[in-house]
Amino acid sequence: MNLVAWVYFPARLAWRQLIFDRTKLIAATCGVLFACVLVFMQQGFRDALYASAASAPVKLHGDLFLMHKQSEAMWRPIRFKRSELMRALGNPAVTEVYPLYLGLAPFKNIETRGKRTLMVYGFDPDSLIFDIEEIKNKRTALRLKDTVLFDEYSRPEFGPMRQLLEAGRRVTEVNDYKITVVGLFRLGVSFAADGNIVTSDLNFMRIFPDRSLNDIDLGVIKLYPDTSIKQVQAELSSQLNEFVNIFTYEELLQNEKNYWANMAPIGFIFGFGTVMGLVVGLVIVYQILFTDITNHRNEFATLKAMGYEHGYFIRVVFASAFFLAILGFIPGYLFSLGLYHLAESQIFMPMPMTFAKAMTVFLFILSMCMTAGFLAIHKLKAANPADMF
C-alpha cells in the first residue's frame, strides 16, 4: 500500500471526526493548551533563573576568578584570605588581581522606609572589574566616603530611585548605615537578590563593620594580553592552596548555573513542575482519546466489518493525538508569549521566547499526546464487529 494513503486516509478520518464535534474539540484543545502553557511557564521561569543567576558574573571583567572551594555560588560565598589572591601575582603572566566583596544587607526604601534585602558589591574603584559603563564613569564619585551606586533594574519595592535622585532625595540606609546614592547602573535581579548596589571596598567595610579587607569573597585575576588562560589556570592551581577554585570566565558562569540547576531545590521544582504539567496533559488527552474511541466504537467496528485492518484504527488514534498536539500548541504558544511579556514587565525577569524553547516544548507536548494515544489504543479492542452486531 502506498505510504501517502497509509497515513493520509486515517489522518483524514481522524480530522473529520475531530471537527465534527466542535464543543468536544474545543474542550480537548483547552486541555492541551493548559499543559502547554504550564510547561512553557515552568521552562521560562527555569531559564530566567539560570540567566539571572549568571547576570552578575556576566558583567565581571577578568580572565580568571578565585573562589573558595566550599562556595556553592556567588550569592553565598565562603570567604578566604586576600593573601591567597595576592600569591597569584607571583605568576609572571598575571598583571593585576582585585578582590570582590559580597554581602546581603537590608536597604531602606527612601519613600516608604520599608526594608528589603539586596546584594552589596564592594570593589576597588581604581580597578575595572565591572564591565558596566555607568560604574566605570562613576568611579571617582565612589571614592568618596559612604557613596553607593544603585541598580536601576532592582525590583520596584526599593523605590523609584531615578525620580528620587532627580528630586535630590539620595540619602538612605544600608545595613542601618547611612549612605548617599550617587548614581544608577543596570545589572538585573536574580533569584538570590531583589536588587544590587555597588560601592567601594572601603565603604563596604563601613556598611559591614564586622567584615575585614583581608577576607575576600571572590578574586578577579587579569593576565597580560596574548597569554594562554588555560595554561595559567593550570599553573596557578599548582601554586595556590587547594582550598580555592580557579575558574575561567565560562566556568564561573557554568558554576553559577549548575548551582541553581542542581544544588538548589529550585531547579528541581521547575523540573518537577514541567513533569506535572505533562502528566496532567497526558491524563486529559488520554481521557479525550479514550472516550472518543468509546463513542466511535460502533463506527470502527463497521469499518472493520468492511475490511479495514486493525492498524488503520491505530493510525486514526495517533493522528487524532497529533492533531490535538498541534491544535493545543499553537494557541498555547501565543498565550505563553503574552505571559512571557507580562512576566518580563512585571517581575523583571528575562524571559525570552527562543525557537529552541518553542521546539522543546512542542516536542514535549507531542510526545505527551503520542503517549496518551499509545495508552488509549488498547480500547480499540472493544471495537469488535462480532460483538457489536
Binding site: A305, M306, A386
Partner: protein, 225 residues
C-alpha cells in the same frame, strides 16, 4: 460452477464447559452465484451469528465454511480481512459514520482499493448514491437524513465496491413499510444487474417475494422452504 457460499456441517456454540450454549447445529447450505436467499426465523435462532461467521467477523471452529473459495474455519486474521473486503455488509442499524457526509461514507468503502484515484472514488460513490435515489443528498450528514435514506446510503456503501456477496442483517427492521420496501427493491434491482449474491436475514414477511429461495433457521437447525 462452485457455489460462492458453501457451508457444511457447521456447529457453533457460545460459552464453554457446562455453560456451553449451542447456537448452530450441523448447518449445511450452498448458495450459488447471483442467488438471492432470504433467511427467516425467530429471534435468538442464530441468524445473526450465522451471518457474522459467513462475513468473516466471527471465528468458527467446527465444520466447513467456504466463502469465495476461502476456508473460514480456524482461519487467520488475513483471510478474514480479505473475505470482508469482498463482501458488502448491510447492518440492522444503518451504522453510517455520523461525522461524514453520505458521499464520504460511501467512498469509505473504496478507500481500501489503491488502484482508484480520489476523484474516481468520489465519482463512483456519487453514481451509486444516484442509483439509490439520493443524488440530491450527496453532502448531507446522516443526522440530516431520514431513516429510510440512511439505510439507502448504507446499501450504496455495501454495493459500491462491487462485492461478490452482500450480507444483510434485517435491513428493514428499523424502517416503516414503505421505505423498507423501497430499500429492498433497490437492493434487489442493483444485485440483479451485477449478478451479486445476496444472503438476507429478515423477520419481515413483506419482502419474501424478492427471494429466489427462502430458508428458515430454527433453534440452530436450517430448513429449506
Amino acid at each position: 460452477m462452485s457455489p460462492v457460499i458453501d457451508v457444511y456441517d457447521l456447529n457453533f456454540s457460545f460459552g464453554s464447559g457446562a455453560l456451553t450454549q449451542p447456537v448452530l447445529k450441523n448447518v449445511t447450505i450452498s448458495i450459488r452465484k447471483g442467488e438471492i436467499v432470504l433467511m427467516t426465523g425467530p429471534s435468538g435462532s442464530g441468524k445473526t451469528t450465522f451471518l457474522t461467521i459467513i462475513g468473516g467477523l466471527r471465528q468458527a471452529y467446527h465444520g466447513s465454511v467456504r466463502v469465495l473459495d476461502q476456508q473460514l474455519i480456524n482461519s487467520s486474521e488475513q483471510v478474514k480481512v480479505s473475505v470482508r473486503q469482498q463482501i458488502g455488509y448491510i447492518f440492522q442499524q444503518h451504522n453510517l459514520l455520523k461525522s461524514l457526509t453520505a458521499l464520504q461514507n460511501v467512498s469509505m468503502a473504496l478507500e481500501m482499493q489503491n488502484r482508484m484515484t480520489e476523484q474516481q472514488r468520489l465519482d463512483r460513490a456519487a453514481e451509486m448514491l444516484n442509483a439509490v435515489g439520493l443524488g440530491e443528498r450527496l453532502n448531507y450528514k446522516p443526522d440530516q437524513l431520514s431513516a429510510g435514506q440512511r439505510q439507502r446510503v448504507s446499501i450504496a456503501r455495501a454495493l459500491v465496491g462491487q462485492p461478490k456477496i452482500v450480507l444483510a442483517d434485517e435491513p428493514t427492521a428499523s424502517l416503516d413499510k414503505q421505505s423498507g420496501h423501497e430499500a429492498v427493491t433497490i437492493l434487489e434491482r442493483l444485485a440483479k444487474e451485477s449478478q451479486t449474491t445476496i444472503l438476507l436475514v429478515t423477520h419481515d414477511y413483506r419482502i419474501l417475494d424478492m427471494a429466489d429461495r427462502v430458508v428458515e433457521l430454527e433453534d440452530g437447525v436450517i430448513k429449506e422452504k
